[in-house]
């Protein structure tokens, strides 16, 4: 319902639109329907309702709510950093990153909708009207997001620092928003110029992966960093490198306006930059970038049809690296089928990669968090030496199990799940074999290499004595993986729609997690006695092998064809 007010507000500028050859009534119609569709779109926050097949009607409000929460976190940062420039620079950097991230994902699917080419353009709507409707849609969408993120910051500025400060803050938000749109736009265009549309989608996915990692790392390290010795010493007016960061300009603007008497000359310059930059970027966006932009973007979305042909050059299905591994590790035909399909599809489905790859980076982050950040008042090198003498490597090795379970949790889900009908029309009576092949593929492709890498790291720093620990941890990790697969992975590989997790099994999740946790503590405690570790490793290997065989025998009763 709010949509109507927003659109009415936009249409106050009717006369300007008409002067540019845009039909305001058509504009209203298009915007109304686009915003209605936005409200009904399923997103990561309303999966619950989606599952129950209820209608979703307020998707954008939900998103705004969560963005608002994030904004609250940012405001907290703003309030707790006492140095003048630092607070605003950090806040607006976070703001612009958050906004850009949300925009980038939305741009490709939501804001540039290929279906418009078939639905709107064949009707009597002029190109101008259509382009402006696009721009306005993007603008309204972005404004909603920006509003949600910044509202707590605005309130804080008004209350905490006075009306004047609050007003300036609002202006800073506007500038930051414009710049974010500009950056997203520019990024798109540059990347498009360099690569093909198909590669572009890959780029976006990798970018999303990269960003999840950064956000994850920041979430864990920032609160500590703020308090730690590192950050207190920073006086940003001296930092040369920040000159090119726009949030620095914004901070300068704020500083200038609020503390007008005490500012340095350089601050004036940056403040001016802050005011000019949105104007320049707006001009660039509208005149230079927007025209070619839409065409380029529609070519991305449509590139599924006439994109690059990817060929495996005569390898068929029987030659090549993957096939030789498959033959050795999973010779039984059903296991072989499960192994290969898991391996191939996990390499090629973008949505899978985006969900799974960040977990590889989470492990080092956790390690740093547990190993370093918790220690106060200790310098970095002292900390590192302490670690080397201790048994932290055990923690590092157990953390790798995280990768295994993340992959397992996603391995049965994909957007193209309907293709799994073949699992149910073919005459095989041992679905457990297919699952076993799937499990083997996951272990060989993801867990093993990563574990070897971490293992090499451990041996390098902690010496060969850790080898028996490595074996033990690997077995425990695999066992944990098997438990997760048995109880939490429902169905064949890539056979369920995404977001189909059965939430009610939280209890089982914790119960399962208790196993490696308990074993881990035991291990940590027993690590002093090398013999004990060797024995434990042997026992664990046997237990894991037995469990795997049990898993392999899984029957049809737990298999269901997803509608």
């Amino acid at each position: 319902m709010f949509n109507r007010y927003i659109i009415n507000f936009v249409l106050l500028f009717k006369s300007i639109f008409e002067k540019f050859g845009v039909d305001p009534e058509q504009l209203r119609i298009i915007l109304t329907i686009k915003m209605k569709m936005d409200d009904r779109r399923p997103n990561v926050y309303n999966q619950q309702r989606q599952k129950k097949k209820k209608e979703v009607n307020n998707a954008s409000w939900l998103v705004m709510f969560f963005l608002g929460l994030t904004g609250l976190f940012f405001t907290f940062l703003l309030a707790s950093l006492k140095q003048p420039f630092l607070a605003h620079t950090v806040y607006f950097s976070a703001f612009m990153v958050m906004l850009a991230v949300t925009l980038i994902s939305d741009f490709t699917n939501v804001l540039i909708d290929v279906r418009d080419n078939y639905i709107i353009l064949p009707r009597p709507v002029s190109d101008r009207t259509f382009t402006i409707s696009r721009i306005l849609h993007i603008g309204i969408h972005t404004a909603k997001m920006a509003f949600a993120i910044s509202i707590s910051g605005v309130i804080y500025s008004f209350i905490g620092e006075g009306i004047f400060s609050g007003l300036v803050f609002i202006i800073e938000v506007l500038i930051a928003t414009t710049l974010s749109i500009f950056f997203v736009n520019i990024t798109y265009l540059i990347v498009l110029k360099i690569t093909s549309p198909q590669r572009f989608k890959d780029f976006i996915s990798y970018f999303q992966i990269f960003l999840s990692i950064i956000i994850f790392a920041a979430y864990y390290t920032l609160p500590r960093l703020i308090e730690s010795s590192i950050l207190k010493g920073i006086d940003l007016t001296q930092a040369r490198i920040l000159i090119v960061v726009p949030s620095y300009w914004l901070a300068a603007l704020h500083e200038l306006v609020v503390n007008i008497k005490t500012t340095q000359f350089t601050t004036y310059i940056y403040a001016v930059l802050a005011v000019l930059s949105p104007i320049i970027s707006l001009y660039l966006v509208v005149k230079v970038l927007a025209p070619g932009f839409n065409q380029k973007l529609s070519s991305i979305s449509a590139s599924g049809d006439d994109g690059v042909i990817v060929s495996s050059e005569g390898k068929g299905a029987s030659k090549g690296f993957v096939n030789s591994i498959a033959k050795k590790v999973a010779p039984h035909p059903l296991e072989n089928a499960g192994f290969k399909i898991t391996w191939l599809l996990s390499s090629r489905y973008r949505d899978f990669k985006v969900k799974v790859y960040p977990s590889f980076a989470y492990v080092p982050v956790y390690f740093v968090y547990f190993g370093f950040i918790n220690k106060r008042g200790v310098s970095l090198s002292e900390n590192w030496n302490n670690l080397l003498e201790g048994r932290m490597y055990i923690l590092l090795m157990y953390l790798t199990g995280f990768v295994l379970t993340t992959v397992l949790q996603h391995i049965s889900m994909t957007e193209k799940y309907k293709a799994s009908w073949v699992f149910f029309t073919t005459p095989h009576n041992e679905p457990g074999r297919i699952l076993a092949g799937m499990f083997k593929a996951v272990v060989v492709k993801y867990y093993l290499p990563y574990f070897i890498a971490i293992g090499a790291f451990s041996i390098f720093f902690w010496g060969p004595a850790v080898i028996n620990d490595l074996i033990l941890v690997f077995m425990v990790g695999t066992l944990y993986g098997l438990l997760v697969a048995l109880f939490q992975v429902k169905g064949f590989p890539f056979s369920q729609p995404p977001n189909n997790q059965k939430g009610g099994k939280m209890f089982i999740t914790f119960l399962i997690m208790a196993v490696p946790a308990a074993l881990g503590f035991l291990h940590y405690w027993a690590a002093q006695w090398e013999i004990a570790i060797w024995i434990a490793a042997a026992i664990m290997t046997i237990i894991t092998w037995v469990s795997f065989n049990y898993y392999r025998k899984e029957s049809w009763e737990s298999m269901e064809l997803a509608d």
Binding site: G316, A317, A419
Partner: protein, 259 residues
């Protein structure tokens, strides 16, 4: 046509409910080897449900279905190995190449890797897409995907083949080829279930036509037998039996809505 053979498929009093709604209200059928059955009916009549029950996708139903004298509820696995199913423009894992996909399907049918590779290559070439055997299917046209689907339904040389709109998306040459293929397979003794809305194709291809409406079989016979009722085309027979003879009136309604 007299048949002293045993029926290859025998359906007795098949009923299926989805909640309150009774989708199949007692189907009784005997199908003999080598027959090409045209299975037609309006949307929602129960065609897909019957088919899904035959191939084992739905196991919860009332009544009995026998294949090769075995009740499918007892031994669905060996039955699945004798049936080939080609659904209508179904989903496939299109990030794979045809050879990879067929290797996967073949293994699920228990075939040997080398046999699959040889047969798949020959079949792909016969269907005219041999050159694309190693290309990922996400750039394939609808017709190319349909061909891969067709191959995946027959690669294990089944005796019973169920086809659901198999000609969808195929160009004229492929259509001719598939029609010829169906008649050759029938001559070899294979039984073919052909579901379609294309009345003219069904007329020409089937030995025997089954018309299902509202969960019941309302017509069963060769095209000649059905024509004895006075109508010249299958379209007209269909319209009469499904109570939609006033197709002309509906069309007139559309036109009047526009003025």
């Amino acid at each position: 046509m007299e048949n002293t053979q045993q029926p290859i498929i025998s359906i007795k009093n098949l009923r299926k409910n989805y909640g309150e709604k009774q989708v199949l209200k007692g189907i009784n059928l005997d199908i003999f080897p080598g027959q090409v059955i045209g299975y037609i009916g309006p949307n929602g009549a129960g065609k897909s449900t019957t088919v899904k029950i035959l191939i084992g996708l739905i196991s919860d139903f009332d009544g009995d279905v026998f294949m090769y004298d075995k009740n499918i509820k007892d031994d669905i696995i060996s039955i699945k190995s004798q049936i080939g199913y080609v659904p209508e423009t179904a989903e496939i894992y299109d990030v794979l190449t045809p050879l990879e996909y067929l290797d996967f399907i073949g293994k699920l049918y228990g075939m040997e890797e080398d046999d699959i590779a040889t047969r798949a290559t020959k079949l792909l070439t016969a269907f005219g897409i041999g050159a694309n055997a190693d290309q990922r299917m996400d750039t394939f046209s609808k017709g190319m995907r349909q061909k891969v689907l067709l191959i995946s339904g027959i690669i294990h040389n089944p005796k019973i083949i169920i086809l659901d709109e198999p000609l969808s998306g195929l160009d004229a040459n492929a259509v001719i080829m598939v029609k010829e293929l169906i008649s050759l397979m029938a001559k070899e003794g294979k039984t073919i279930f052909y579901c379609s809305h294309m009345m003219d194709v069904v007329e020409k291809v089937s030995d025997r036509i089954l018309l299902i409406n509202n969960g019941e079989i309302v017509a069963d016979g060769s095209f000649e037998e059905l024509k004895a009722g006075g109508d010249q085309t299958l379209e007209k027979i269909f319209a009469k039996l499904t109570g939609k003879e006033e197709g002309n009136r509906d069309a007139a309604d559309v036109l009047s809505a526009l003025s």
